[in-house]
């Protein structure tokens, strides 16, 4: 029976994948989507170029036009590339940093501005100019100046993309890594007789596209012709259809975007199962979570195939990996427990938050697949060090979630008066302790693997680099309360507080070293931080919550803590266990 319920949940989760149904309409522009482009150091389908360009310019994957209708990223990109309107006046370029808007004299409430508005702002131009002068003098830029340079890049990208004929679409005749050229330069690599039909096709596509949506089928046919001709120029160099379509499928499938919806649904079902005939829904919720994990795992597999490298190499990937790890560890515990529920109830919100952040903030967490910097390449130890250490972070994140659930009970459910609540807290603390064990083991292993990598890469096992040091600090921040519990200095309440408070050390190691300290050897490719203030606010609010709980907990008198410590002692048996001095 439970297998049936599990399967039901699993299938329900997978059903979410086929929504919206519009994705199954015949796609007329498919040949255009899967046209190969050599850009930023790799070959990718035009679909990816469109997605990355629109996300970079607009900050999201679709464009809501003035009349309220929505254009997909592909439609938006083609509209820009084929210049179907006056892109000078379209409020399209993302400018979200408020002080910069104020400095430029823009409406601070508006998020997107037109090319003309931005170019026409003398204040903005002056800031950009100063920033360039500072860059040449190798001085440090202010936040305002860095943001202004980002806007300059966006404007330049828009300028390049409008009426764009400069995409390298023509493959190199022989060298798999040779430089591709644009269609207009095709004669540099091929004879004029070969190049002429390609040029003609390009023009035809452009003209037909401008005739309007009714002619999309013809555009599709012409694009198929163009793609076939280009591929026939250099069949060995041109990527296979399978490879190109895999990436187009990945973009459209949007696995990490769908996974959080499934987790969200699983969370609701699990929550409901707490109150209504618990056993009926539990396995359904488990099925939902498993389907979400399957989708996420499949997404990772596709991304690894596309990028041809290990799964975790930048901040975006690490955030998604942590959400995956949180769910995976929680599911494992659930399977080994007797319908604990709380593991998944604590994990799901964390996984959803991570995935939503990664999905909705392409400007902060850049999802594009770019070639790796040399130091990250070609190393076995690195490819296991990073996933292991981030799995450790995931375990601690789960412990933090469980800690919140426990502290919530302390704050709202009056454990002193209600033995059932007290018992539940006892169970939750036990769960929390188990999760911390996993975290300690994974983080220790991850730190040591990092040392082994550093031994090969930088010539020393340990060198007190800030990122190394902070990973160690994070580990110690968990070891101190775990050891403190052995002596009886803290009890269940203390462990729950520690699992919440110590997570700040993980945040610092994971995110803060790069953004707050900004030094050290690990400072590659993590982009600018748009988020320090938000993170700081969340951390402060959370610590406030802990403080409030602690005040409520301690006020009834010290004896409650003491009695709890004593009563919790047997549960701590595995840790303190000395042989019963036989």
């Amino acid at each position: 029976m439970k297998i049936l319920k599990f399967a039901l949940g699993f299938i329900l989760g997978l059903l979410i994948l086929i929504l919206p149904l519009s994705q199954f309409q015949p796609n007329l522009l498919e040949p255009l989507q899967s046209m190969a482009v050599q850009l930023d150091g790799r070959k990718k389908p035009l679909d990816t170029v469109a997605l990355e360009t629109v996300e970079k310019l607009h900050g999201s994957a679709s464009y809501k036009q003035a009349d309220g209708s929505k254009l997909s990223y592909l439609e938006t990109y083609l509209a820009i590339a084929f210049n179907d309107r006056d892109w000078n006046t379209e409020p399209f370029v993302l400018l979200s940093y408020r002080p910069l808007k104020e400095a430029a004299g823009f409406d601070p409430e508006q998020k997107h501005f037109s090319f003309r508005e931005i170019i026409g702002s003398p204040a903005l131009t002056a800031i950009v100019k100063d920033a360039h002068a500072k860059q040449l003098a190798e001085q440090e830029l202010s936040r305002l100046e860095r943001e202004a340079l980002t806007i300059e890049e966006r404007v330049a990208l828009l300028y390049r993309t409008v009426g764009d004929n400069s995409l390298p679409l023509v493959p190199h005749p022989s060298d798999g890594k040779g430089t591709w050229v644009t269609i207009n330069q095709a004669t540099e690599l091929y004879s004029p007789e070969d190049a002429a039909p390609v040029m003609a096709l390009q023009q035809q596509i452009e003209q037909t596209y401008r005739l309007g949506p009714a002619h999309r089928d013809i555009v599709g046919k012409l694009a198929a012709d163009l793609k076939q001709t280009l591929a026939s120029f250099s069949p060995a160099v041109y990527p296979s259809d399978q490879v190109l379509q895999r990436e187009v499928f990945f973009n459209g499938f949007h696995p990490f975007g769908k996974a959080w919806m499934i987790y969200g649904l699983g969370f609701l079902v699990m929550l409901v199962s707490l109150w209504f005939k618990p056993t009926e829904l539990y396995w359904g919720a488990m099925g939902l979570f498993c389907s979400g994990m399957a989708v996420q795992a499949y997404g990772f597999l596709l991304r690894m195939q596309i990028a041809d490298r290990p799964p975790v190499t930048n901040m975006y990937e690490s955030v998604i990996w942590v959400s995956f790890g949180v769910t995976a560890i929680a599911l494992l515990f659930e399977f080994f427990s007797n319908k604990a529920r709380y593991f998944l109830l604590a994990a799901a919100p964390l996984a959803v938050v991570c995935l939503v952040l990664a999905d909705r903030l392409p400007v902060v967490l850049d999802p594009s697949i770019a070639p790796l910097v040399p130091v990250l390449r070609d190393n076995f130890w690195l490819s296991i060090h990073v996933p292991t250490i981030t799995l450790g972070y995931a375990a601690f994140a789960l412990a933090m979630g469980l800690g919140h659930v426990s502290l919530g009970h302390y704050l709202f459910a009056k454990p002193d008066q209600n033995p059932a609540v007290k018992k539940r807290i006892q169970t939750l603390s036990q769960f929390n302790y188990r999760t911390l064990q996993v975290g300690v083991l994974l983080l220790t292993t991850g730190i040591i693997l990092g040392g082994i990598w550093a031994h090969f890469s930088w010539g020393r096992f340990w060198g007190w680099d800030p990122k190394e040091t902070w990973a160690l600090i994070a580990l110690l921040c968990y070891l101190v309360p775990l050891h403190g519990r052995l002596v009886g200095w803290i009890g269940n309440f203390g462990i729950n507080v520690a699992s919440v408070v110590s997570f700040n050390a993980v945040l610092m190691a994971w995110y803060g070293v790069n953004f707050v300290l900004g030094t050290g050897l690990h400072s590659y490719g993590f982009g600018t931080g748009d988020s320090q203030m938000i993170v700081a606010t969340v951390v402060a609010a959370d610590l406030g919550f802990v403080l409030l709980t602690a005040l409520r907990h301690v006020r009834p008198g010290l004896n409650s803590e003491a009695s709890e410590t004593i009563s919790s002692e047997p549960s701590a048996a595995p840790v303190t266990a000395e042989p019963k001095s036989a």
């Binding site: 930023d40 070959k43 591709w180 080994f336 130091v375 082994i452 020393r460 101190v480």
Partner: protein
């Protein structure tokens, strides 16, 4: 529970220490209890956390080398780590005998941590490491630059003292005295200023010019001299001041003549074999037919070439400091076309950097391209004020500006208006037998003045003097002369490394770098070894215990590579690896050993009852309890 442990360890220790007097053994036991206790471990770990957090924030302000010296390599931090290791060892020892998975895991983890701390400390303190700069156009190098500075002092008694210096964040130096010299202060940025004084051994004209502008409320003074080199041309903003010696009347005439307008483009000319010279500025982006059916196009030109952070070429300025061009050469068409991309630099006159774009490589000799030269003449200054010393010692001037050219005799005290705004130029001082006096002056670091470090020392008689970086200096003192050299620390390798080739792979279709690889040759005459190896990121090579790894490179000069060279005794590496293994396995055993054993016993048929009598209290393992 803790009581139980204490009693047990007391018994054990009491037995082994029974020969000691009662009081001493009591103290010993108490000491052991404290050292191995968890009540010491928790505050110790907490204080280590505090120190580390402070250190990382301090590091973001003062930089890594300082924090390494002040914190991580300091004796007090070492003592802290030693205390931790002691705590770990004693606590693990006190649990002897280690029976059952929990205790085995405990001992493995805690001893593993001790091994790991010892190994990591050895990595930091015992190993020798430095940077080795090698070039393709030079022979094997065996001199490694080691972090830090060295001071060499030879005193009046001819005794030589050599010490490693450590510069503290407040610019004081440790040690504070070497061979009789007091080391007062380190200055990170100094420049050497120059003035001229009469009394030189040979005739050497020098003049001090004064430039005055009422409109700008500015007065500038500049020394010009025939020798040393570099003082005959001094630029002031957009204009240049010059001092020239004319030995004959003809030379004098030439120097005072009106300049002729320059022909040709600003970017110089390119000479490819026998082909006519190509004016670079006028030929940008044009297809030019060369001899032998070759076609050439200059695709790009950078007046001040460098690579940006993503290793794309860019120009650092509009000045012709490092002119470089990128050109395409093509022979034939279609499939059979041979096409190459060349980077040609005006400075250094090294061979073009060639990349094949299509087809086979071009045969330079057959195509008459073996000789490639690219010359950029610095443009003659348009605005100049030239002081010319005639054959008889008389003084003239020639001045050119947008307002025209003028020349004539230049008398002392007479002001000339060359036509740059309202500037008036006059001779403030003139010396016929000038000699140069140099003085080291400290400048603030944030100024755009690029200086060199220097060390301020005091001699026994109290007089102070700066030692510039890298230049040995003789210091005269009442009690005799000192010789001192303040220089980078170097280390001699027992073998040489020659850079045979430096290979930069780029990501396809872009200028961003995918990987750089040094093809090196190890030359060891003592062992009769001469072999080629490849070193790239994450892939070092080892020779005689020395690890040789790719460290950095110079994007502007692909004939050069910097390697990290490190000697780490094998047992140090062994310690870290052994400790790592012990800690990971130990932690896993502590947490999951017992439940794993239990599951194993449940699966296997029980051999006998003896084993279960030794059983641990029930473990609430992952599988067992949840």
């Amino acid at each position: 529970m803790h009581e139980a442990k204490t009693i047990q360890s007391q018994n054990m220790t009491a037995q082994t220490q029974s020969f000691l007097p009662q009081n001493l053994s009591k103290i010993w036991i108490q000491l052991q209890q404290i050292l191995g206790s968890i009540k010491l471990a928790v505050p110790l770990l907490a204080s280590i956390i505090g120190v580390l957090i402070w250190a990382t924030f301090y590091e973001s302000q003062v930089g890594s080398p300082t924090v390494q010296q002040v914190v991580y390599k300091s004796p007090w931090f070492g003592a802290l780590m030693f205390l931790l290791a002691l705590n770990l060892s004693v606590s693990a020892l006190s649990r002897y005998p280690w029976r059952g998975p929990r205790k085995v895991g405990f001992a493995l983890t805690h001893f593993g941590l001790v091994v790991l701390i010892a190994g990591s400390a050895a990595v930091i303190h015992i190993s020798t490491e430095g940077m080795l700069l090698i070039r393709t156009d030079q022979g094997a190098n065996s001199l490694v630059r080691v972090e830090g500075e060295l001071l060499d002092v030879v005193g009046p008694d001819q005794a030589e003292k050599q010490v490693n210096l450590f510069i503290k964040p407040d610019n004081t130096v440790s040690p504070s005295e070497v061979g009789g010299l007091k080391l007062l202060r380190y200055a990170p940025n100094t420049v050497t200023t120059t003035r001229f004084e009469p009394g030189g051994p040979v005739a050497n004209a020098a003049v001090k010019l004064q430039l005055q502008s009422d409109r700008m409320g500015q007065t500038l003074e500049r020394w010009l001299a025939i020798a040393p080199a570099g003082y005959s041309d001094v630029s002031v903003g957009p204009a240049t001041l010059e001092l020239r010696q004319a030995n004959t009347d003809t030379e004098l005439e030439a120097l005072l003549a009106q300049p002729q307008p320059q022909l040709g483009g600003r970017f110089g000319s390119l000479q490819l074999g026998e082909n006519p010279a190509i004016d670079v500025e006028g030929s940008l982006d044009k297809i030019i037919d060369l001899a032998n059916g070759l076609q050439l196009r200059i695709d790009n030109f950078w007046p001040d070439f460098r690579l940006d952070s993503e290793n794309r070429p860019e120009s650092a300025s509009d000045q012709l400091n490092n002119p470089a061009m990128q050109l395409s050469l093509r022979l034939g068409r279609g499939e059979a076309a041979q096409q190459e991309r060349w980077f040609i630099f005006a400075n250094g006159q090294f061979d073009p950097i060639r990349t094949s774009v299509a087809g086979a490589a071009l045969d330079r000799d057959a195509l008459g391209l073996s000789e490639v030269s690219y010359d950029v003449q610095p443009p003659a200054p348009e605005d100049y004020f030239r002081v010319v010393m005639g054959p008889e010692g008389e003084r003239f001037y020639a001045a050119n500006s947008s307002k025209g050219f003028k020349s004539g005799p230049l008398e002392a005290g007479e002001a000339v208006t060359p036509g740059w705004a309202d500037f008036r130029i006059s001779v403030a001082e003139a010396i016929a037998d000038a000699q140069v006096q140099r003085e080291v002056v400290e400048v603030p670091e944030d100024e755009n003045l690029e200086g060199e470090p220097a060390l301020l020392v005091a001699m026994p008689d109290g007089s102070e003097q700066w030692l510039p970086w890298g230049d040995p200096v003789a210091l005269s003192n009442t009690s005799g002369d000192y010789y001192a050299a303040f220089s980078p620390r170097m280390l001699q390798l027992p073998f040489g490394i020659k850079l045979e080739d430096f290979i930069v792979e780029r990501n396809e279709g872009s200028e961003s770098v995918a990987m750089w690889t040094s093809q090196i040759r190890l030359d060891d005459p003592h062992q009769g070894v001469r072999e080629s190896r490849r070193v790239w990121m994450n892939h070092p090579t080892w020779y005689q215990g020395w690890k040789i790894a790719q460290a950095s490179w110079n994007p502007g000069d692909l004939n050069q590579s910097t390697l990290q060279v490190k000697l780490e005794p094998w047992w140090v590496t062994g310690l870290t690896w052994l400790g790592s293994l012990m800690v990971v396995v130990g932690t896993a055993v502590i947490f999951y050993g017992r439940s794993a054993m239990k599951n194993l016993k449940a699966v296997l048929p029980e051999p006998g009852q003896e084993e279960s009598s030794d059983a641990e209290p029930p473990e609430m393992g992952l599988a067992a309890r949840l």
